[in-house]
């Protein structure tokens, strides 16, 4: 038996013994997600046990080095773990911005001390991280950031405001871009700082969206004292860290999206807008849905193909922008057609059932897809410059 085959057997046995039955069922709602963090309330003992067991193996972050709390798995081993978890439909034990955004950035840019301190907290789900990039007046244009840190020798005094800080009201720490070098050129004056949200002067407030309640917040810094050792990478080079991290975010927004499972044909069935053969009754709407299906198949296949290429050693690079652009525009169209298929049923905003209004809220929420994580326009700019190498405008 090859090493990998025997590894697979070990994994299979371990999962069989350690993954609780209730953690092998599909997640039904937001509260089945394990986000971790100091204030997180587990929805069940199984959820807690599953996290602890996986964290002990380092398998919440399978490919991170063991010394930082990861699993130390090779790429092939990590793939096997993923396949075996999928086989038994195991839920992810932990989902967090720490894992898919901050962690990779720390591994690349963090100091040895930072890695030893922060990464294990992430793998064990002890600290939940928020992201502090955007500001009012600086959405796509991060170079226009105004949150500033005044240099006080061994610390900075940070003042300013961040927006779109997802779940910041439930998070413990925030990684934030702060202008620390006022005299440097715009892109070079920004630092990447790690800030405890319990420190004096940090406050946060949820933002209500057109789709209703949202995980987004505004976060305010009012004379917050941040020690110099809390910087990642060098002063003024926060932009490098941010870009690296954003490329991870983009791939994520494009691929997932709450809408991927949502289906206008199912909507037509639900609202009774089908003919006696079960076909979407309005032939023009049917044609629109079919064209959407074609583009959705194309997108789904492209995700797989780019993954294949990545596995084959080709970098994803600026293709993340392609996926972000196409995936989010597609998702908006999908939601629009879903609303059309629901007709007046889709217009419901509130009713007796908690899920009443979900289609409308999902549809409205989808409009943000092409804004957050870099607007569609920014993605097209990136593609034009970096992939097509078109001349500067």
């Amino acid at each position: 038996m090859s090493d990998l085959e025997s590894f697979r057997n070990d994994v299979r046995d371990w999962l069989e013994a350690n993954c609780p039955d209730s953690m092998r069922k599909p997640m039904k709602s937001e509260k089945d997600i394990c986000w971790g963090g100091k204030r997180f309330e587990f929805s069940s003992d199984d959820q807690k046990a599953w996290l602890e067991r996986m964290a002990e193996k380092g398998w919440t972050c399978p490919s991170w080095p063991k010394e930082y709390g990861g699993g130390g798995l090779s790429k092939d081993e990590a793939q096997i773990l993923k396949e075996e978890m999928e086989r038994i439909k195991a839920r992810p034990p932990l989902i967090s911005f720490g894992i898919w955004m901050l962690g990779p950035a720390l591994l690349k840019y963090g100091s040895e001390e930072q890695k030893c301190h922060y990464l294990p907290q992430i793998t064990r789900g002890e600290i939940r991280w928020a992201q502090g990039y955007s500001e009012p007046g600086a959405g796509s244009d991060l170079a226009a950031l105004r949150t500033k840190g005044d240099d006080k020798g061994d610390h900075w005094i940070v003042n300013g405001q961040k927006v779109w800080t997802s779940y910041a009201d439930e998070c413990d720490w925030i990684f934030a871009l702060v202008r620390t070098e006022p005299d440097a050129p715009k892109h070079l004056g920004i630092s990447f700082l790690l800030i405890d949200m319990e420190w004096d002067g940090v406050s946060t407030k949820p933002i209500k969206l057109i789709s209703g309640k949202s995980p987004f917040c505004e976060t305010f810094f009012d004379d917050v004292k941040v020690p110099k050792e809390n910087i990642v990478h060098q002063p003024g080079r926060g932009w490098d860290v941010a870009k690296y991290l954003l490329s991870h975010e983009r791939a994520n927004i494009a691929g997932g999206g709450s809408g991927a499972q949502m289906n206008p044909v199912a909507a037509a069935h639900k609202s009774g807008e089908v003919d006696e053969n079960g076909r979407v009754a309005d032939p023009i709407l049917r044609g629109d849905i079919a064209r959407l299906t074609i583009d959705a198949l194309a997108f789904e296949t492209t995700l797989q193909r780019i993954k294949d290429q990545a596995d084959g050693g080709q970098g994803v690079g600026a293709k993340a922008s392609m996926l972000k652009y196409y995936g989010t525009e597609l998702n908006k169209r999908r939601h629009e057609l879903n609303m059309s298929a629901l007709g007046s049923d889709g217009l419901l905003w509130e009713g007796e059932n908690p899920e009443d209004g979900d289609p409308a809220r999902g549809w409205l929420r989808s409009r943000a897809n092409s804004i957050e994580g870099g607007t569609s326009e920014i993605q097209l700019n990136i593609l034009a410059k970096r992939v097509l190498e078109l001349p500067g405008g």
Partner: protein
């Protein structure tokens, strides 16, 4: 047929603009929503509108109206689109007034039209039974019962249905022809369910369970109830298209202001060519919509037999363009466009609801093909 507004029409539009800006700006819709208003409109404003003469805009003078025609009604709705005024105007003063005017006996007109014109009572039209508008699908039954009728069935998404004092209900009669019936929503057997909608209006689903109606509940001036219903719906579609036009115009105009002010990468974002081209395209689409809307309204006033094609085209185009304009508005506003605090999202929401009511763009395209014989 003139595409130019007459002086009288221009004055009407100006006064509508002034009135709505003062009494019913977008913030008023937000207030209605936040207060959880169950009628979906403000009675005081509705009364003021009656005082302006608007509520009787398509009602003959002998019944208390000003009889200015559908173009005039459309102009008011266009301005309502710009401020997202939520009122019973379309339901009561257009749809139901048209039904009574062209389908009511003298007695019915004398009794009901003055109430609409004075704003004393709010009327609503109950037609749709499917989720997507399809006026041919009517299964609600009005069975002959002595001198009167017994009404049974279900209506969906009756616009202004929750706050209405009187309903006009489309139902199938014993010979399968269509009749329009005046029904008191407080009558025994009528049950209304408020369906708060995404645009913060208050439509209702309404159940009719063996509701007893008098013989004179039937609008019986015309034999052909189906033709009457078509005319009523077309009047609503043309006027609603005008409201959608107003939505498209205002969302566009606010976006234009925004991209002229907002800076990014050290430049006004309105200086980026890709946004400029999209804005210029929108300008053109709004202009095209405007042409179809005025054409549809004028046809309805001056050559109603020719009107259906133009109305279907106008409703389809206005649906598409109002949605495009408000969607582009959110995108060009970026993050703030997504916040509830900003008003632009209200336009996108209303565009969706107005689009779905009385037929969306796919419906309109289908009808254009059908009316054109292909």
């Amino acid at each position: 047929m003139s595409y130019i507004l007459s002086e009288e029409e221009q004055m009407l539009r100006d006064s509508a603009q002034a009135f709505l800006a003062e009494k019913s700006p977008v913030s008023e819709l937000r207030r209605l929503r936040d207060e959880g208003c169950k009628d979906g409109f403000r009675h005081a404003i509705w009364k003021d509108m009656a005082d302006m003469g608007w509520n009787g805009i398509v009602i003959p003078e002998e019944f208390g109206g000003v009889d200015m025609g559908f173009t005039a009604a459309g102009l008011i709705l266009q301005e309502m689109g710009r401020t997202l005024a939520a009122t019973p105007f379309l339901a009561s003063s257009v749809l139901c007034a048209t039904a009574l005017r062209y389908g009511g006996t003298d007695g019915q007109k004398s009794e009901h039209l003055p109430k609409i014109a004075s704003g004393e009572k709010v009327y609503a039209l109950a037609v749709d039974e499917k989720a997507r508008h399809d006026a041919s699908h009517i299964e609600t039954r009005a069975r002959k019962d002595g001198n009167g009728f017994r009404l049974s069935g279900q209506k969906r998404h009756v616009v202004c249905g929750n706050g209405a004092d009187m309903l006009i209900v489309a139902a199938r009669m014993d010979d399968d022809s269509i009749g329009l019936f005046l029904v008191d929503p407080e009558a025994s057997g009528v049950e209304r369910t408020l369906r708060r909608s995404v645009d913060s209006h208050a439509p209702a689903n309404i159940q009719f369970d063996d509701v007893k109606l008098d013989g004179d509940a039937l609008l019986s001036e015309t034999e052909d109830g189906s033709a009457l219903l078509d005319l009523v719906l077309d009047s609503g579609r043309a006027c609603l298209a005008a409201e959608q036009l107003g939505i498209a115009e205002e969302a566009f105009s606010r976006t234009l202001d925004y991209i002229k002010e907002r800076e990014q990468f050290g430049q006004k974002i309105g200086s980026f060519q890709s946004l400029q081209h999209r804005a210029a395209h929108l300008l053109t689409e709004v202009e095209m919509t405007q042409s179809l809307v005025i054409k549809a309204l004028r046809q309805l006033d001056e050559a109603p037999s020719q009107a259906p094609l133009w109305i279907a085209a106008a409703k389809a185009k206005a649906t598409r363009v109002s949605r495009l304009s408000s969607a582009e508005a959110i995108q060009m506003h970026g993050g703030v466009g997504m916040t509830d605090e900003y008003e632009i999202g209200f336009f996108y929401k209303r565009a969706q609801a107005a689009g779905e009511f009385l037929g969306d763009d796919a419906w309109g395209a289908g009808r254009v093909a059908q009316l054109s014989g292909y």
